[in-house]
Point group: C2
């Protein structure tokens, strides 16, 4: 049984086509994409406005959404932000995180994204104990602070109003990978396609142990990470098997947190992995300074020497690069995930996106800490930053900007999405071309004028997920946040 959508106009093969008929098979995969069809066939849903392939949010830390509007008191420094971030992280367990992530992923869909790369490092219980095990005496964790934390009940666990997971899950064995499964379930229930970027986080800084707050991020050693990652992949292959493009919502990938969090000697191990590898790169000048002090060169060159820079690598931020760094990333055809809204909020600066693209890198986009969850504004932020730093208009054409949001993101996450073509998942977003914001915008220039308020419809796997800002199955998205804040014991 196939489903059809007749789009008034849609982005197909790098241009705006009129009268586009999308046919979606029963797996949610595109089986037909026809242009120039003058009217909707019987039974097809009519989609007015401009349809784009679903946006790909190539860099997300879902729980950071909870920080939105809570880190600017009296202005707010980076340290205000970090303090609030750790305090929220400490409240998360598998049940609360599933509740939080479901709301965030729903808002993401409403904002025009249908896929997400979740850069995930909250692997273990707050004291560092892996879910589904008892602490292993041999594991190198647990300073005094962590021991203290271990003995404290978390507020969230004491909150009776918090939604609970499946009771059967409470059995220790089935709680292995509980945080990862929480994210996967949240994505599947919201209807967003997730690449869970299972993150390696071993040191608090170069040659420094994890702090107590970071204990739950760590796997002790690179072998510890690789073992857990292998087990996670096997577990997910069973619980969330990858089938046809349209029906597969959960995929696993890997991430190196940063050059600060993984010793250079461990980096070559990431060449053993297939699939995408992401890494935070050069977000702040301090990272470059520390890297020079330890390794005598830039973070990019440390990665390159380790063999991990290639087409499957996505460098996130890439703000403070040397010319050599740009050449290395470009020549290797790496992906670059720019996160303009976050990079402004955290005062990171504006990275050399145009130069990276000219050198051969693919520029993708991410919402990172979700200061905004609006695929259009994030894309506009990429071009705005370029204009501000260069003094020139038109640094990326509208077509390049659409490509950054869609095709490049799909490439970064290695997902069968990002363009409306047969064999890809039937994931798309329909924008209003007749709102007070977009009225008068020409063709693809709407990428520079629309906002999430113009997202009429978000579809993934051929199913309408969000219509006019309301999630088709989960309902009002603010209500999902109300549940999430309640689960965390926080006032909204």
């Amino acid at each position: 049984m196939s489903t059809q959508f007749w789009c008034e106009r849609a982005w197909v093969d790098g241009t705006v086509a009129d009268g586009v008929l999308l046919t979606c098979d029963d797996t949610g995969t595109l089986s037909g994409v026809e242009t120039g069809i003058s009217s909707a066939p019987a039974g097809a849903e009519v989609v007015p406005g401009l349809t784009l392939p679903g946006g790909v949010n190539a860099h997300s830390h879902a729980f950071h959404r909870i920080l939105r509007g809570r880190t600017h008191g009296d202005g707010g420094t980076f340290w205000t932000w970090r303090e609030v971030m750790y305090s929220v992280a400490a409240k998360l367990d598998p049940e609360t995180y599933e509740t939080v992530a479901r709301a965030v992923f729903a808002e993401m869909l409403a904002g025009g994204y249908t896929s997400v790369g979740e850069f995930h490092y909250l692997h273990h219980a707050q004291d560092g104990t892996p879910y589904g095990t008892v602490p292993e005496s041999g594991r190198p964790r647990g300073d005094a602070a962590a021991s203290q934390l271990r003995s404290e009940p978390t507020n969230a666990r004491e909150d009776e109003s918090r939604p609970r997971g499946d009771a059967a899950d409470e059995a220790a064995g089935s709680r292995a990978h509980a945080m990862e499964r929480a994210l996967a379930r949240a994505a599947a229930s919201a209807g967003i396609r997730i690449r869970l970027l299972d993150t390696c986080y071993l040191t608090g800084a170069i040659d420094a142990e994890l702090s107590a707050e970071q204990a739950r991020f760590g796997d002790g050693t690179i072998d510890g990470y690789m073992d857990r990652h292998t087990a996670l992949s096997a577990s997910f292959a069973e619980e969330f098997p990858v089938r046809a493009p349209g029906e597969s919502y959960v995929h696993v990938g890997a991430a190196i947190h940063s050059i600060r969090a993984v010793p250079a000697a461990n980096l070559p191990r990431f060449t053993e992995l297939t699939g995408p590898v992401h890494v935070h790169l050069c977000e702040q000048p301090a990272e470059n300074d520390a890297c020079h002090a330890a390794y005598g060169t830039t973070p990019t060159q440390v990665l390159a020497r380790s063999g991990v820079v290639g087409p499957n690598l996505s460098a996130v931020h890439a703000t403070h690069l040397s010319e050599d760094d740009i050449a290395i990333l470009g020549q290797s055809q790496a992906s670059i995930v720019m996160c303009p809204a976050t990079e402004a909020d955290l005062a990171d600066g504006i990275g050399p996106a145009r130069e990276l693209a000219d050198a051969g890198a693919a520029i993708a986009l991410g919402s990172d800490q979700h200061v905004v969850l609006d695929a259009l504004r994030e894309t506009q932020g990429l071009e705005a930053g370029e204009r501000l730093r260069s003094g020139q208009r038109g640094r990326f054409s509208p077509a390049e900007l659409i490509s950054a949001l869609t095709e490049s993101g799909a490439r970064s996450l290695e997902l069968p999405v990002g363009s409306l073509e047969v064999g890809n998942a039937c994931d798309f977003v329909a924008l209003r071309t007749d709102s007070m914001r977009t009225f008068g915008s020409l063709d693809e220039q709407i990428i520079l004028t629309a906002t999430s308020a113009d997202v009429r419809l978000t579809v993934s796997g051929g199913r309408v997920r969000v219509r006019d800002g309301v999630h088709a199955e989960l309902g009002d998205i603010a209500d999902l946040y109300a549940a999430a804040f309640a689960a965390l014991g926080m006032e909204g």
Copy 2:
């Protein structure tokens, strides 16, 4: 007969107060502002969420809205933008401009603004003939191109579908100041408070005549400008008399287009005027270069030597300033109107807002070419730019950002608005604190997280103008744009 609004929370005296009862007299002026009122009295309209004083848009060129989404083809340079801008300007006459401006002002209200400083220089017919007169033989205008333009009928005038003004206006005498009256009527009918900044524009560049496209901007000489400005002020005093704060929607002010468009020798004449004087200042480095070549110093210092830099001066953009310029503007307590969305779109750069504020200037905000019409996003753009150029978070506190949008704008335009206090106009905007975007934001930090999609209600003069994105009297705002584009003979 008074009207009351009971606001769940509102910004009063620089902080968020609970239970604020606003009483508005029959002139639309606030006669009572009480905080800590636990519930709404009978008959008061309940306003949930967070109420802010209406945003002040201190720099607008209304017709530039028509360019939105039309200047980025293949990327788009500054010259693409300028070409499209002049082609739209050429289509405007009093009737079409009233139709355009009504739509723009309605969108402005929906975006959270209740006052606007309209920097207006389209004074005359396209060939430079003042409305309501026949061309004066002695006026210094009319090169060959302008003569050619003069003999061509405009497309807009031939368009039968275009809405016509009052038939009685067609009599030549009553068409004096027809463009200015069109803007004033548009503002009054939409319900936005306007300071019409009647702009002096004499030269196309320093020591260069106006081009044919600029003929309609010019008054020939400074005396020509001053005479027309005096006549305009007298005419408006009659047609739009200034009465109580709440019921007066139309106010006149002056503007010097820029150091490029008004000879330095003419600048001292602006000290004769009372009320606000605005000037475009240092938007592009090229202006500074030309000014140095002609006058041997910076535009700011040319203005200062002419005696026009003082508390009633608003410098718009102020992007490329020297340290001395910053000190001059600060010490004189000038206002600075930053236009972050436009300054990004036009690749102007990021001006030194924090340094100007520290030096003593008041930072206000403007949407300029209306790349976005969203008071919240424009305010967020000010702080984002500061963070990006400084590498520091929290450059302006949320309270300072709210003040920039409200009080500083009111100061720049010298309007009795900008704070919820007795004697000011009853102009306010109510924001949703429980949307998917704003849920969880603390207190005044909503200024950093809301967008125009969170504007539940915009009130001016105690009357609801926009509710949930729809204008109370004018209806769907996109429909107003449809009428405006039709009037211009343009496809939407």
